[in-house]
């Protein structure tokens, strides 16, 4: 497996989360992997979950519907609408989970350099409470692992000057 990047997660404001990740592929391919059902079905979802429904009407104003099935047979659904599509540069969509209140706006930007693609996805939640609830819920799914050393966090945050 080629693991070119490590995911960076930041909270630029109290309603946002930004995910930044480098992929070892041209951006057309990365963009496709985020927008084509046959590709999304092959990677999207928490570990041990599969994407059993993936319907996408890829046009501005078009909707999508995902259903993920967990190892215990539990389903988790989400849906949304595309607001802006500029392949393979950027996309903006609204999304909401069946089990969560509130709709989030997701802005994804794909930048290619020397055959590698940097994806920056900014998720804007309707309120801080919704954002926190989403992170909290992913914590429950995520593996409990010991956190980085304090010094690492400090180096990371102090070198991360606001651009």
């Amino acid at each position: 497996m080629k693991n070119t990047g490590t995911l960076k997660v930041t909270t630029p404001s109290d309603r946002e989360i930004t995910l930044t990740r480098v992929f070892d592929a041209p951006r057309k391919l990365v963009y496709d992997a985020f927008t084509k059902p046959e590709l999304l079905k092959r990677w999207f979802g928490p570990r041990g979950w599969s994407l059993v429904v993936c319907d996408i009407d890829l046009k501005v104003g078009g909707g999508f519907r995902f259903v993920m099935r967990g190892p215990d047979g539990k389903d988790m659904g989400m849906r949304g609408v595309y607001r802006e599509l500029v392949p393979p540069d950027r996309s903006v969509h609204m999304e909401s989970f069946d089990d969560f209140p509130g709709e989030a706006q997701v802005t994804a930007v794909f930048v290619e350099q020397s055959g590698k693609t940097t994806m920056t996805a900014t998720v804007l939640y309707p309120s801080k409470e919704v954002r926190d609830a989403v992170i909290q819920s992913s914590m429950e799914h995520g593996a409990a692992e010991s956190y980085d050393k304090l010094a690492e966090l400090l180096n990371q945050t102090s070198s991360q000057e606001v651009a």
Binding site: M1, K2, N3, T4, G5, T6, L7, K8, V9, T11, D14, I17, L19, R21, F23, D24, A25, L29, V30, D32, A33, P37, E38, L39, R42, W43, F44, G45, P46, R47, K128, E129, V130, D132, A133, I135, Q136, S138, M139, H141, G142, A143, A144, E145, Y147, D148, L150, A151, L153, L154, N155, T157, S158, Q160, E161, V162
Partner: protein
């Protein structure tokens, strides 16, 4: 919807949303320091630094040491560790997902004609 750590996390993230305050914390990670010592590397007055220290203190990120003369500030690691853990789990959740995407992207590129990929039914 609110979880017990929520207020603490708010204060922590608000305090970290400033490069001067992050630099102060980085300095304190290597040992306690007085206000004058902390002000030294910045082109800032001591009152300006004191303002930042107040924010950090309210967030529970720093406290005052025992020396009554110097009133040194020192780092309190717990809130930072909690904020880090909170985001770190979220990060791990997505990182696991993106590693599967890495594998898929590598597979797609190793195929002879990568321009068009047909849906593959398994």
């Amino acid at each position: 919807m609110e979880h017990p750590q929520s207020h603490q996390l708010d204060a922590t993230f608000a305090a970290l949303a400033d490069s001067t305050r992050r630099a102060i914390l980085a300095r304190l990670a290597s040992g306690e320091a007085s206000v004058a010592e902390l002000a030294e590397p910045f082109s800032m007055s001591q009152p300006a630094i004191s303002k930042h220290l107040k924010v950090l203190e309210r967030a529970g990120l720093i406290s005052r040491g025992r020396d009554a003369q110097r009133r040194p500030r020192r780092l309190d690691a717990k809130p930072l560790a909690e904020a880090n853990e909170w985001l770190e789990r979220y990060r791990q959740f997505w990182e696991a997902n993106f590693q599967r995407l890495d594998t898929l992207l590598a597979e797609l590129q190793s195929k002879p004609a990568p321009r068009r990929h047909r849906p593959k039914k398994n």
